[in-house]
């Protein structure tokens, strides 16, 4: 028998951390459940925004790190 799906279940479903039984229940019902779909869509938009906000470190910083990695190796390995 299916149990009530919570927002925490949907959260874990979105990040692929939910139990197989709940996953199957959500997958089977999401097409006809606008509340579930809206919650998953909100998570997708948040993911997209967070990921597009980051552009990586500068090349100068990377050069310093790689130089440091060689310096450490030359002197201590």
């Amino acid at each position: 028998m299916d149990r009530n799906i919570t927002e925490n279940d949907l959260l874990l479903y979105h990040y692929n951390e939910v139990d197989a039984e709940i996953r199957n229940q959500i997958s089977a019902g999401i097409e006809n459940n606008s509340e579930w779909r809206e919650y998953i869509e909100l998570l997708q938009r948040i993911d997209k925004s967070v990921n597009q906000n980051c552009k990586g470190p500068s090349s100068v910083t990377l050069s310093i790190i790689l130089e440091e990695s060689q310096h450490q190796e030359n002197h201590t390995f």
């Binding site: 927002e7 925490n8 959260l11 874990l12 990040y15 951390e17 919650y39 909100l42 998570l43 938009r45 948040i46 993911d47 925004s49 967070v50 990921n51 597009q52 906000n53 980051c54 552009k55 990586g56 470190p57 500068s58 910083t61 990377l62 310093i64 790190i65 790689l66 440091e68 990695s69 060689q70 450490q72 190796e73 201590t76 390995f77």
Partner: protein, 193 residues
């Protein structure tokens, strides 16, 4: 047939044996996730750059001293170092007065924006301003879990280890973060992009 990906654990072993190219691969593999996570936690471009650099200096030192024993769990380990450095920096920053311009904005943020083209600024503002602002307004603990799950793509179990909490606490914080973002979007009657 494509070459199999060399695991993080193997790269670190090779680096320990003197292969610096292996370390470069490791840096390039994880730089964006680590830098982006730090940037989202501290909300300061220049501070994030410093913390990112300091994180990798610590990583180099730890590996060199034989303190790395996490096999292929490099990213959670590196993010734990970065997260601790970020929190320390935020605590120090709270004790220091901000340098502000006459309109009250942070001087260094203003300088950073001035370096970008108008087109870049417009696109960024249009696509992410509202949601990004709201993410910044989240309580630190909620924002941290959100970034580590959504951006760094760590599991809740891994986040629990990094934050020294438990899985249920992390899921709860994430849930509250999403709930708060939804409330903020409704309050401002602007659809979250």
């Amino acid at each position: 047939m494509a070459n199999p990906i060399i695991t993080d654990g193997v790269l670190i072993k090779r680096y320990v044996q003197g292969n610096t190219a292996a370390f470069e691969i490791l840096v390039n593999r994880h730089k964006d996730r680590i830098h982006g996570s730090v940037l989202n936690i501290v909300n300061d471009t220049y501070l994030a750059e410093d913390i990112f650099q300091e994180t990798f200096i610590k990583i180099i030192q730890n590996i060199k001293r034989g303190k790395y024993n996490h096999e292929d769990k490099f990213l959670p380990w590196a993010l734990r170092i970065a997260r601790n450095l970020a929190i320390d920096s935020l605590r120090r920053k709270k004790r220091m007065p901000a340098v502000v311009t006459s309109d009250g904005s942070d001087l260094f943020e203003t300088l950073h924006i001035a370096d970008k083209s108008q087109e870049d600024i417009h696109i960024e503002q249009e696509e992410h301003a509202e949601l990004h602002t709201w993410i910044r307004l989240l309580p630190e603990e909620q924002r941290e879990v959100l970034i580590l799950r959504s951006y760094a793509q760590l599991s809740f179990k891994e986040i629990a280890v990094i934050t020294e909490t438990n899985i249920n606490t992390c899921i709860g914080r994430m849930h509250y973060a999403i709930t708060n973002l939804r409330k903020m979007s409704e309050k401002n009657t602007i659809r979250v992009k």
